[in-house]
């Protein structure tokens, strides 16, 4: 089963506390994180940090679809980060889509995870994302088929590295229960090399 190639470069930007440019297959996303910063009065939570995420598409102003990605990534990071250590502050994750060739959401989530790891904010667990595509011939693949119309359904699984439980899931197209479970098992296998890749990048310093 041929899986997408990962590569990333840490510390790309100077202003944010941590930044990464991450590519999965041909999809490229750049992410930056601003560690515990001052929060506006209305958004302030007394006992924990308020996590915010803004996602910018490649072209044009952020539309309704990007708001869905923003809320997806915001909730995932909110569960993963130990926000109770930084009460009454804010953590801002900024994502910029550079190029999209199929696995946009999983690439953005992996970039967000990497940048959280890099920023040194405590995390309960590491999370990774995998995209599976179900082609019209009912065949599950990790790489996006060439033509868009050949895809019957696509699944995005976000799993944590402790017990590999489903943290988040976003699907497109219609599918049966069995196909969903098959995709789940496939993604559990693939998630291992995602986490392996994360460990390698963090241990070996800047470049991979």
């Amino acid at each position: 089963m041929e899986s997408p190639q990962f590569s990333c470069k840490l510390g790309v930007l100077s202003r944010p506390d941590a930044s990464v440019i991450f590519c999965e297959g041909e999809t490229v996303v750049m992410a930056g994180i601003y560690g515990p910063i001052e929060v506006k009065m209305q958004k302030m939570l007394i006992d924990k940090a308020s996590v915010e995420c803004n996602y910018r598409p490649k072209r044009g102003l952020p539309g309704v679809e990007d708001k869905l990605y923003e809320s997806l990534i915001r909730n995932i990071c909110d569960t993963a980060l130990v926000t109770s250590l930084y009460p009454r502050s804010a953590i801002l994750i900024a994502l910029q889509e550079m190029h999209n060739s199929g696995q946009l959401i999983s690439c953005a989530i992996n970039a967000a995870c990497l940048v959280c790891l890099e920023s040194g904010i405590d995390m309960k667990f590491m999370f990774g994302a995998v995209t599976c595509f179900l082609t019209n011939q009912e065949e599950l693949r990790l790489m996006p088929p060439i033509s868009d119309s050949a895809v019957k359904a696509s699944f995005v699984f976000v799993l944590d590295n402790v017990k590999e439980r489903i943290l988040a899931s976003h699907t497109e197209g219609s599918f049966s229960m069995e196909q969903y479970e098959e995709a789940q098992d496939l993604s559990r296998k693939q998630i291992k090399n995602v986490f392996a890749f994360f460990k390698k990048t963090l241990n070996s310093g800047k470049e991979m």
């Binding site: 309704v64 809320s71 909730n75 995932i76 569960t79 489903i166 049966s176 229960m177």
Partner: protein, 275 residues
């Protein structure tokens, strides 16, 4: 006294209830709120329905207009869904442009319509590349008490199944259109997606059909949309992780729910048609 306790320590108030596995409004964990559907109430809209899930009320109105199909899809009409969380339904929302939550739910509903293929856009085409129908599907939330997506999809199905468009004869040469209001044709609905929302409380308790308080205090939300026996959307935006057994038990609950909702829609549409 109870009201003060609830406002000062909302989470503890809920945990005390859940420890006796009952919810503050007296429901079991997997019990749904009473569901009502009323169809065809607004005759300035081509198709309309009002759905009530407990106290959550959503009105769906469909208005059809002519438009020119896109160059790259000459034989396809358009469906434009928009959810309006007006400041009328809850103090959380302020007047002005739609809030982030409204935009996220709008996109979710648009994805569900697209994934479930309940309406085939080709049926909306009157004359390829020249004239097509554009269905403006507007949801207005009157009372925001949780599980808004379920109420919207229920109202959508009610409105779509009673939608009837006037017949049009179009003469491409002179580009003039003659609309005959009396003869109205209905749009074929290929499937009826049914959505169910669960919330995960303190990483272990799963509640069905949450109220707005439960949605604010929960640690994770899961929305599953079934179409027949296929799933057409499984949306879990983060929140506390979910084991496989819980997921499959949720899907089982959805299946039972789907059958009861389908009967509800059938009976309501049948009464409306023979009235």
């Amino acid at each position: 006294m109870a009201k003060q306790y609830k406002s000062l320590h909302p989470v503890k108030y809920y945990r005390d209830y859940l420890s006796h596995n009952i919810r503050p409004d007296g429901r079991e964990f997997d019990e749904f709120r009473p569901t009502l559907l009323n169809v065809g109430t607004i005759d300035t809209a081509d198709g309309s329905a009002i759905s009530k899930l407990g106290r959550t009320t959503v009105v769906c109105g469909i208005k059809a207009e002519f438009c020119k199909p896109k160059a790259e899809t000459p034989n396809k009409g358009f469906i434009v869904p928009n959810l309006e969380l007006s400041p009328l339904c809850s103090p959380k929302f302020r007047p002005g442009p739609p809030s982030d939550q409204a935009q996220v739910l709008t996109q979710l509903i648009a994805d569900i319509i697209e994934n479930s293929h309940c309406i085939d856009l080709k049926d909306l085409c009157i004359f390829p590349d020249r004239l097509a129908w554009c269905l403006f599907v507007d949801f207005v939330c009157l009372d925001f008490d949780g599980a808004v997506v379920d109420a919207c999809i229920l109202a959508l199905m009610g409105a779509l199944q009673t939608l009837c468009l006037p017949s049009v004869d179009y003469d491409p040469a002179l580009d003039n259109k003659l609309v005959n209001l009396e003869k109205r044709i209905s749009v074929p609905v290929h499937s009826t997606p049914i959505s169910t929302t669960f919330t995960i409380f303190d990483d272990k308790i799963i509640l069905v059909d949450p109220t707005v308080d439960e949605e604010n205090l929960c640690s994770g939300i899961l929305t599953i949309v079934l179409r027949g026996d296929e799933i057409c959307s499984l949306h879990k935006p983060g929140g506390s992780p979910l084991t496989d057994e819980d997921l499959s038990s949720c899907i089982e609950k959805c299946k039972q729910r789907a059958t009861s909702i389908k009967d509800l829609i059938k009976t309501v549409v049948k009464d409306y048609n023979n009235k």
